[in-house]
Symmetry: C2
Subunit: 654 residues, 2 copies
Amino acid sequence: MGKTDWTQLWLTYHRVFEGNCTWETVLEGFAASDAVVSNALSEFKRGMDSIGCDSDSMTLKITKSDAVPAEGYSIKGDDNGILLEASDERGLLYGVFAILRQTACGKRAAEVNETASPSNPLRMMNHWDNMDGSIERGYSGESFFFENEEIVINDRTVDYARFMASIGINGVVINNVNVKGAASYLITDRYFDKLKELSEIFEGYGIKLYMSLNFASPIEIGGMDTCDPLDSNVISWWEKKIKEVYENLPGLGGFLVKADSEGRPGPFTYGRTQADGANMLADVIAPYGGIIIWRCFVYNCTQDWRDTKTDRARAGYDYFKDLDGAYHDNVILQIKNGPMDFQIREPVSPLLGGLTKTNQMLEVQAAQEYTGHQIDLCYLIPLFKEVLDFHTHCAPGKDTVADVVSGRTMGNRLGGMAAVINTGNDMNWTGDDLAAANTYGFGRLSFNTDLTAEEIAREWIRQTLNLPAKEEDILCSMLLRSREIYERYTSPLGIGWMVTPNGHYGPSVDGYEYSRWGTYHRADHLGIGVDRTDKGTGYAQQYYPENAKLYNDPHTCPEELLLFFHHIPYTWELKTGKTLIQHIYDSHFLGEEEARGLASDWDSIKDAVPEEIYTRVKERFDLQLDNAREWRDQVNSYFYRKSGIADEKGRTIY
Amino acid sequence: MGKTDWTQLWLTYHRVFEGNCTWETVLEGFAASDAVVSNALSEFKRGMDSIGCDSDSMTLKITKSDAVPAEGYSIKGDDNGILLEASDERGLLYGVFAILRQTACGKRAAEVNETASPSNPLRMMNHWDNMDGSIERGYSGESFFFENEEIVINDRTVDYARFMASIGINGVVINNVNVKGAASYLITDRYFDKLKELSEIFEGYGIKLYMSLNFASPIEIGGMDTCDPLDSNVISWWEKKIKEVYENLPGLGGFLVKADSEGRPGPFTYGRTQADGANMLADVIAPYGGIIIWRCFVYNCTQDWRDTKTDRARAGYDYFKDLDGAYHDNVILQIKNGPMDFQIREPVSPLLGGLTKTNQMLEVQAAQEYTGHQIDLCYLIPLFKEVLDFHTHCAPGKDTVADVVSGRTMGNRLGGMAAVINTGNDMNWTGDDLAAANTYGFGRLSFNTDLTAEEIAREWIRQTLNLPAKEEDILCSMLLRSREIYERYTSPLGIGWMVTPNGHYGPSVDGYEYSRWGTYHRADHLGIGVDRTDKGTGYAQQYYPENAKLYNDPHTCPEELLLFFHHIPYTWELKTGKTLIQHIYDSHFLGEEEARGLASDWDSIKDAVPEEIYTRVKERFDLQLDNAREWRDQVNSYFYRKSGIADEKGRTIY
C-alpha cells in the first residue's frame, strides 16, 4: 500500500459547494508555458473542479504587478471571479494555492481576499533520508526519495512537490545531514541525471533542490588525504567538483553541512574554524548563486557525566559567537531552536539573535523524535510560535527570533526557517494522520509567522477533514492542548531527556544520566536540575542581560524552564503554592489523564471522520495511553523512591 | 587472521624436556584402525614430539580392561614407559590426553599416574552460533561452524574437536537454542552431507553431534498449521522427519530444545505441558538412541514492573516441579545454575535436586554475557564449583548438585553438565586469551567435579603458557580472585542486573528496573532488594526446608545473597559491622582498586608471556579499568543520590 497509493493530505479538495462552474483564465504578463504557471493553473482546475462552485461561470484573472513583493500575492474575489496579482511566478503559484485554501475552507469567490508575502526568504524542509531507503528519526515508513541507493522519481514525487508548494516551501534538502556511503556520491555523475529530473520537478513548484554535503568528500570520493579547508589542493578539488555539479544541476540551491558533530568530519580536524570551513565552500559556490547552510549543532559528544563544568547547552554559542561577522554573505548558520536537541521544552538558543552579523536560519523538528514518534499526539506549532515570538533583546523593536531569521533585524538577504520533516512512504505520509498538521503548520508558519497556532490548526482541519463545526472545535482543541499534555507526562519543568536511550520513545529517567551525551538531570534525594546560572555553568549568561538576569534567578525564571536553569529542592514552593515534588506528581497524573481525554475526544468525533483515518489514529492513541502510563508511573516512582516524599493525594506510586 | 590462523590454546605443547625419544606403541584389545584410537595415537606423537622426553626410547602400552569404568582410564608410568588401561575408545583417548597433560605439566613418564573416570555421563558444550555466522552473546568473533547459512568444515574444525576431547567433552550442540531461519533447515537434506562430515570428525574425538531444534518445525519447514505435540499428524510428521535425520546422521546424539521461552514456540501455545512437548519428541527419537534435552528457561518475559507478586525467579520451579516424574527416560531437563540468568551471583536454582524423578543437566555460561564480555577478567570455575558443591538437601549424603546431575542421587543414567561456550573465530578462540581458562576449566570440571578451581587454573596455565613458578603463582592468583573482584565493582550482594540493557556490558543501575524482564532491585531512598521470603514472593520456599529457613531470615541468609532474598535498609548492619550503604561504597572502591591491581599483576609478568598474548590481554585490561571505574562511580553515585548517606571515608562520589 505505502508505495503504490497515498493520501492527498490537505489537498484532498473535499466538495464544499454543490455545483460546478466553468472557470475562464486570463493571464497578463505571465507565460502559460512557464512550468510554474502551468502547474498552478492545473492545480487550480483540479482543486476547483473538486471543491465545487455555486455560480455558472467565473473568471480567474492573473496579472503581473511589480507592486506585489517577491513571492507574494494579492487575491480579491467578487461575484464574477477572482483577481490574482503577483510579481513573479512563485507568487502566482502561492496565490493560486491561497485561493484554493480559502475556497476549501468554505469561502465563496466574492469572499476571497488576501494580500500576503513570505515572512522568511528561505522556507525549507530537511529530509533525514538515507540512500538505502531508511530515514533517521523517521516514523512514517521509508524514504520516497531513495531506495537501494537509487533516486526514486514517480507520481508521488510530484504530489510531494505540490504539497510543499501549497504551504510555501521553497527549498528542500533531500538527504540526511549525516552524509555517508552512497550519499557522498550524490555530487558525482552517478546521480546527476536523476537529480536533474528531480530538480526540474521541484522547480515547477517553485522549490529549489538542496543536498547535504559530506565535508570529507575530497577524501571519500576524491581520493585525497585531507579535506583541510585551507589546503589549496582541497580548494581546487572543490572548485572543479562544484563546477561539474552546476553544469549538471544548474538549478541547485546549494548545500547543507553538518561538520564536526557527532562523529562527522569538519574543519576542527585541521585546526581550522567553522568559518574557515563554511567560507571556503561558500566562495567556491558563490559564482553559481549557491548558498552554504552550516549547522551549528556542534558539541562534545564524549562528555564525562562526572564533569559538572562542561555544559552541552553552552556549546553552540561557545563555538560560533566569536566568529560572528566572519561568515561570508552566502553562508547561513542553521541553529536549532534550543541549545540541546529538540526536547519538548527548552529555552531558545542564545545564538539566535546572539549573532548580529551573520545570516541565521531557525531549525525546528517536525519529526517527533523526542515528542512522541508520531504515535503520541503533539501539535508542535505552539512550540514553534513560542520560539519565533521570543524576545532576544538583540535590537530595539525588532528583536524576536522571527525578526532575526527573517532578516528584519539586520536587513540581510538570507535567512529563514527549516524543519526536519516528518514524512515517509507510509500511505498517509506521516504515520499518524494528525501529525500532518505539523508538516502543514511548519510551512504555513514559515510563510507567515503572524499566523496563530489555532488559525493554522483550523485551516489544516478544514482542508484535510472538512469537519462540522463542533467536531472541528474538538479536534482543534485536541491539537492545541496536545503539546502541554505530552510535556506534563514526560520530563518536568524543562529538564528534558529521561527518554529511552537511542530510540528516544518512552521513559528512562536515568537513561542519559550517566552517559557521554551531556544530558543530565542531576537528581539526588534532595532535589533535581542543572545549575546553569553564574554560579553554575554560566549558560544563562550567554543571553542578553535582560534574559540572563531573568533566567539566573530561580524566583524570576519562567517555571516551565526552572529545572533547566536551576538545581531545585523537592520542597521548593512553586508559584501555585505546590512543592516541586508535588508538582511532579500532579502533572504526571494529570498528563496521563488528559492523554486519555484526547483519546476519548477522538472517539467522540468518530462518525465525522473517514473510517480508515479514525482507525489509524485510534491505534496510535492506544499506544499513546500505554506510553503516558509508563511515563507517569516511572517518573513518579523514580522521584518518590528517591525523595521519600509521599504524594499528598495518596495516589498509587510504585 | 581470525579465519586462517589460530592458536593451539592449552594444546600448544611447549617444550618441557630437552631431549626427544622414540615412543613404541603397543595396542592390546583396541584396533589401530578405529578413528578414535588412530586420532589418539597421532595426538600422542604430536604432543610428545613437541614436549620432549629425556630418555632414549619408551613404550606406550595400551590395554583394554573391563575393570576400568566406561570412558575412564588408568595411566601409570615407569622408567621404560607408560601403561594405559581403558575399557573403551573414549577412555583410551582421554587417557592419552591425560598423559599429555601430565607431561606438559612437567611430569616425567615415571611420575605419570592417575586413575579417572568421568563424574558426569554428559559433558556438553552449547554453541549459540547462528547460521549467518553471528554468535548470540559471542565475544570472540564469528562462528567457525557457520558462514552465510552454510556449514564450514576445515582444519579448525578438527582442532576444535581435539580441544574438546582433551578436556573430556563428549557432546556438542552446534547451533543457537534460538532456532530461526536457515537453522530450522538443519534437519533437512539441505545440510545432511555437511552435518555427516562434521559428525564423523566429532566422533573421531569421542564427541556426539547435537543440534538445537525448532519446536515449530512442522509449521516452519513442514507447511503444517500446527505443532501441537499431541496432534497425530504432528507426531507422524516428526516420526518421518526423525527417521530421515537418522538415516542420514546415524551418529546424532539428539536435540536441545528451548520452547515457550522469550518468544520461542512451544507446547503452551496448544494448552499442553512441557512434558507433553518433550515426551513426544523423546518417544519419536528413542528408537534411534537419541535424547531430548529440554531447557527449563521458561518465564514470563512481558512482566509489569509495577507487579511485585510475580517473581521471575520462581518461574522454572513453578513450571517444571509439578511434572517431576512425568518425563520419559530419554528426556533431560537442562537447568541454568541460578533462577535468573547467569548473573555474577545467584542462589542455586531450586529445581536442581528439587526434581527427584527427572534427569537433570546443569547449564552454566562460559560465555561472559553478564560477567564482562571476555574483556573483564572473570575466571568462572569458582562459581561453577559453588554450584556443584551446593547442598540441596534432596537426599541424605548425596544431595549436592554434583550428586544430582551426575546421577549419583537418583541412580539415573542420563545427566551431566552443559556450558554455553565462549569461543568464536578470533585467532585466539576466546577474544581474551585468559578466558580460555573458562573453556578449559568447564570441560575438566565436568569430567571431574572434585578438581579445585586452583588445580584447574594451574593445569591451564602450565599447558598454555608454561610460566616460571613465580609468574604462574601470580597469574593463578589473578584468576582465582577475578570473580569476586568483578562482583565487588558491579551489582551488590546478589541483586544482579544493573547492566546496560540488551548489550549487558557496563552499568545502568535502573536499566532493567522499569522493564518487562522481571529483573528488579526495588531500590528507594531507604533500602534495596527483593523480598523473596514467605512474606514476599515466596521464592525462598521453593527450597528444601533447611535452605528455605536459611534464606528466609535476613540474619541467617548468606550475605552475598542478602539482596536477592530481602529488601534491606541502607542502615542495616552487616556481619562486618558495616552498614549496607557503606558496604556498597567500600566494595565498589575496593573492586575498582583491585581491578587496577589485576592489570598491574599482568604487567608484572609481561616478560614471561609471549608478546602478542601480553598485548592482547593488556588491551582488555585497559578496557576493564574503564568499565570498573564506570561501575564504581555510577553505582556509588546512584546510591548516594538516592540515600543521601555520605561515604564515611569521604571519597569522591558524584
